[in-house]
């Protein structure tokens, strides 16, 4: 069992949620409430990571930020290290790959809030900001939670992008899913088996916790 790899996985999952959730709430709400020209293409772009193979994202990230490209060289001279093959690079890749997992549930959540409810709140004299915090967010909460858990669980399971952009560096970019692959290549089926079981249990636990929590939220609303 590679505890460092588990730590890297958990940090990556948590970091991705921390970066994406606030953005997802803003952007999901924006997409739910507003109609504008080009919405179709924006929604398609947001959903694209869901259907694209991870290698496409990995390819673009490496070509753009690799040390052989001007952008990558500029990045390295500013930050002192390249973006690929670092934890930060993984975080960026994973944030992009998970956009649909966070935006879509939240957009659906805000869409189900009736416009009349918002109007009523406005008539009662609530400021827009208070309307958002007191009315909209509590109603959309189950979908926000779903988005967070989906993103976290999906990040733990991420493999292709992580291997391409991260490159299997112990303690930095070797996540649990990459460590399993690595151990398999060393004919170490035992460690691979242990780690696979850990990932399976984490996945089941997170999904069960979400179901439970969202059930409680629904009950609370009644």
């Amino acid at each position: 069992m590679d505890w460092t790899a588990l730590a890297v996985s958990l940090w990556l999952g948590g970091g991705t949620v921390a970066i994406l959730l606030p953005f997802g709430i803003w952007f999901g709400r924006f997409l739910a409430l507003r109609d504008f020209r080009g919405k179709l293409i924006v929604e398609a772009l947001v959903t694209a990571p869901l259907v694209l193979p991870p290698t496409v994202l990995g390819f673009y990230l490496l070509v753009t930020f690799g040390t052989r490209s001007p952008v990558g060289q500029a990045f390295q001279s500013i930050f002192g290290q390249p973006l690929p093959f670092t934890f930060t690079g993984l975080l960026v890749a994973s944030a992009i790959a998970n956009i649909p997992f966070v935006v879509q549930p939240i957009q659906r959540g805000f869409e189900t809030i009736p416009a009349t409810l918002r109007d009523a709140a406005a008539c009662c004299g609530l400021t827009p900001w208070r309307r958002f915090l007191r009315i909209e967010l509590p109603l959309a909460w189950p979908s926000v939670l779903t988005a967070a858990v989906l993103t976290f669980a999906h990040t733990l399971g991420e493999f292709g992008v992580v291997l391409m952009v991260g490159g299997n560096l112990p303690g930095e970019t070797r996540t649990l899913s990459v460590a399993i692959y690595d151990r398999m290549q060393a004919f170490d089926d035992r460690s691979a088996g242990t780690m696979a079981t850990v990932l399976l249990l984490i996945a089941l636990a997170t999904l069960m916790v979400t179901t439970l929590l969202s059930r409680r939220v629904h009950v609370g609303q009644r």
Binding site: G15, I19, P22, R34, R68, P82, W129, L169, E172, A186
Partner: protein, 263 residues
């Protein structure tokens, strides 16, 4: 009105996102000495690194992969300080790109072995007679080699099969591993009758009891001259390790794992 909330919400979001990113990013610590090595070295180099840690008190992190993949990663800025390849061509690419200290040295000569898992209809011999007759009978279900495009051991395997006139017939039956280690994995599992894999992996613990093997003559393919190069920014600990791999202690370990060592 909505715009008002939206823009406020956006700024709150950005603030939280930045905080989250900086917390997550601050987890980084100074990297230990990191070495990239071809997958065929998985066991030999691990032994050498253990011995190095005992002798010199320094641990190096080993990352294994296909030589081509690792070379590409170094070109793209991966922080490896030493690269042990399965051939000379990939290290030479790095030399040409000006990323290395010097041209490096050949540290080992690789050997190929024909391997058949338990229960396979394939009888193994150094002349590939068993494989030829199996191919003629059309009884080869799957045969594992490493991908010739990224793995030098795959290229050597292709050369061997071509030399014995089996390449065209066996081609539709090939399963290609990304690395020679994955090819070895394929050779033992599924419905493969066997594979051409690195001798060093056949000798590995946990592998030897999975089937039978025959080492192929060195003359069957271009010699697998394995070269290593120090990357320009290599730190002293890695330079020491580079010298250690050329020491008598390391050469003895390489020999034990089935490699030839240069004069």
């Amino acid at each position: 009105m909505t715009v008002d909330v939206s823009s406020r919400l956006l700024s709150v979001c950005l603030a939280i996102a930045c905080a989250g990113a900086s917390i997550a990013g601050s987890e980084r610590t100074q990297r230990g000495p990191t070495v990239a090595a071809a997958a065929n070295l998985n066991f030999a180099l691990t032994d050498i690194a253990d011995q190095f840690a005992r002798d010199r008190g320094t641990r190096v992190d080993l990352v294994f992969g296909a030589s081509g993949t690792l070379a590409r990663q170094i070109l793209d800025g991966a922080p490896f300080e030493l690269f042990l390849a399965a051939d000379e061509e990939f290290p030479n690419q790095l030399v040409k790109a000006g990323l290395t200290r010097d041209a490096g040295v050949v540290y080992a000569l690789g050997r190929l072995a024909l391997f058949a898992p338990k229960g396979s209809p394939l009888t193994v011999d150094a002349d590939l007679d068993g494989l030829s007759s199996l191919v003629k009978k059309g009884a080869v279900t799957r045969f594992a080699i490493a991908n010739p495009e990224v793995a030098p051991y795959g290229r050597a395997a292709e050369a061997v099969l071509r030399k014995h006139g089996l390449w065209e017939a066996i081609r539709p039956r090939l399963v290609l591993g990304d690395t020679i280690a994955q090819a070895a994995q394929f050779a033992t599992t599924g419905n493969a009758v066997g594979g051409l894999i690195a001798y060093s992996l056949v000798l590995a613990p946990g592998f030897a009891d999975r089937g039978t093997y025959a080492v192929l003559p060195e003359t069957d393919h271009e010699p697998l001259r394995q070269r290593m190069v120090l990357v320009t920014q290599a730190r002293p600990a890695v330079v020491q390790f580079y010298e250690y791999v050329q020491s008598d202690a390391a050469r003895a370990i390489l020999r034990k794992h089935g490699y030839g060592v240069p004069e």
